[in-house]
Symmetry: C2
Subunit: 351 residues, 2 copies
């Protein structure tokens, strides 16, 4: 009955109440320095009294921006990834965006139809920037985004010289440290189960594996390398293959915890003890690693931190975009960070 209808106060009302003009209120709200202390106080009081909150749609329309960024997750990939990974990314991203009062739009892309819809989204200027998770080597999405002139940051990269800004973890270091650790435990025949090699992360871990072997003076042997796909089943297949080819292996570096778990199952079925006969190291430090039997040694990535950095990098791009030319961007490239964060080996009973 009383009903304050849709009655949110507007900028205009705040201005009236504060006894100033619309422009001045707008300046105060947006933190412009060109406002007298006096006016600023009056406006702030009025804002508080009225409980004024700016209307986003109006702002977006007038200011030609949205204060929102999209986090894009190709769904098929996501299934493969250790799931907590994705959640941790969200955590980091969300925290950083909240501080900047930006909205987080979550977009899962499952089908081609959804992909198209998303491309329309982008075209319709519905976000100020895009965060892309789990990109494959031949994923066209990053380029599409860039073609539209939208700020973007990838999680991971597609190749060594990724043209789009990215935040990655040190996959090479991960592989190297795992191998060095295993060698330090006295293992000599160290095998590896890789991820799908069209993912740069998988390639990096493999490179790290090789570098590690070289560093500790062990020979490389291609029979000790088997390709998986980051899934448990893939880990099983790869492990079976390895055992067949090299029955004498005494350690395995699996490029994901899930594959390590699959490998462990096969080892057990074949009567090999972990870590007695074969030491095992995974990557991700996922819950599965902690709960497997024996608990799995694993290389941890700073996932949440990656999310945070991604968001930060994106915000910086967006800010630069707005400040600089409103048109095409410079090729200065100062605002196209390539971040590689260090990983950490968590030693548990499996090695």
């Amino acid at each position: 009955m009383s009903g304050r209808q849709t009655g949110r106060p507007t900028l205009e009302e705040v201005a009236t109440r504060a006894g100033v003009g619309r422009g001045t209120v707008s300046r105060v709200i947006n933190g412009s320095p060109r406002v007298s202390e006096q006016a600023k106080e009056a406006v702030e009081r009025a804002v508080a009294e009225l409980g004024y909150v700016p209307n986003r749609a109006a702002r977006a329309l007038a200011g030609n921006r949205t204060d929102a960024v999209a986090l894009v997750v190709p769904e098929t990939e996501n299934r493969l990834f250790a799931e907590p990974y994705f959640l941790d990314i969200i955590r980091g991203v969300s925290a950083e965006l909240a501080d900047a009062d930006m909205q987080l739009l979550l977009t899962l892309i499952r089908t081609d139809q959804e992909r198209q819809r998303f491309e329309q989204y982008l075209a319709a200027q519905r976000v100020d920037g895009v965060l892309l998770v789990s990109v494959h080597r031949d994923d066209p999405l990053p380029d599409l985004v860039r073609a539209l002139g939208l700020p973007a940051v990838l999680n991971g990269r597609r190749s060594e010289n990724e043209p789009v800004a990215y935040v990655d973890s040190d996959n090479v270091g991960a592989g190297r440290s795992a191998v060095e650790h295993l060698a330090g435990r006295g293992r000599h025949r160290i095998a590896t189960i890789t991820g799908p090699l069209d993912m740069f992360a998988a390639q990096g871990r493999l490179d790290g594996y090789r570098q590690g072997l070289a560093a500790v003076g062990l020979p490389t042997d291609d029979r000790l390398v088997s390709t998986g796909d980051f899934t448990e089943e893939g880990g099983r297949r790869a492990m079976a293959e390895l055992l067949e080819r090299c029955p004498d292996l005494d350690a395995v570096f699996a490029a994901s915890d899930l594959m390590a778990v699959g490998a462990r199952a096969v080892l057990r079925a074949r009567g090999r003890e972990v870590p007695g006969d074969v030491a095992l190291v995974g990557v991700d430090d996922s819950p599965v690693a902690r709960h497997s039997d024996p608990p799995l040694t694993s290389v941890r990535q700073p996932i949440e931190e990656m999310g945070r950095r991604m968001a930060r990098a994106l915000l910086r791009q967006i800010a630069a975009n707005g400040a600089g030319g409103s048109d095409v961007e410079e090729d200065g490239g100062e605002e196209r960070p390539r971040l590689v964060l260090p990983t950490e080996l968590i030693v548990r009973a499996s090695s």
Copy 2:
């Protein structure tokens, strides 16, 4: 150099090209029936040729809606939940929203500050509706949302007669089926580790446990009930307590997989075999359940389906809100669904 600037086509341009007025284009875009077949075709052609996509901000401003809904996740809770749970909810929600061309805004609430910011969000009409995950009994957020007159749907409920629309799983049924299964395996001293009892889901599972005992003609014994908090550590503590009080127990129904895993660790440490000495059943059918040793029998909830239903229910509320009175809503309550979806027992080696 060519640069189509920010030059997205506008409604006006489409109208010109199609040789009709703005109003007609708007009608076609929004699927109004009051348009001649001829005009409709002309507009559709112009839209296709120009690659027109409506500007959301303008639409939101003019239409007083946003075509976006928020999915709110109190972060502290989330930690407790089996993580895939949350992802599956997102999947369901996302799929359903995408079909309705609605945006999904993800909001993690960690601190009080973020909570306040979120309340401002709501007040600022930045979303058309809200989905709330993992509500505690005394959570004020649902009521706040309703006070603002915003459509809302909860995942789970705070009490038996939850005033806000919700989608829940059949927690009572979950507890009952677990107990009946264990009894069917010949167990007579069936204990339970509950979740935090200020969560209705936890209470429901406990009720189901009791109903199950009654159904199979076993006596209830409060010493066989221990309270956990859905975490692994909580499961450990509760299990230790149970063993102390009732060394003769031969089965445990844990209200979450994580607690079941904790319980298993304690059982093993105390030299009790699973399932030989003590059978174990969890809830969630999480990856942890599949990977634990032995694989854990668990009650599965249709999580993604819950997400889907939540979204659908919310969309319906939003539609009704818009269609009906634009002001206060009727008390007809037709649009306040209370959905309880069935669960399913997945039998594995632990029981």
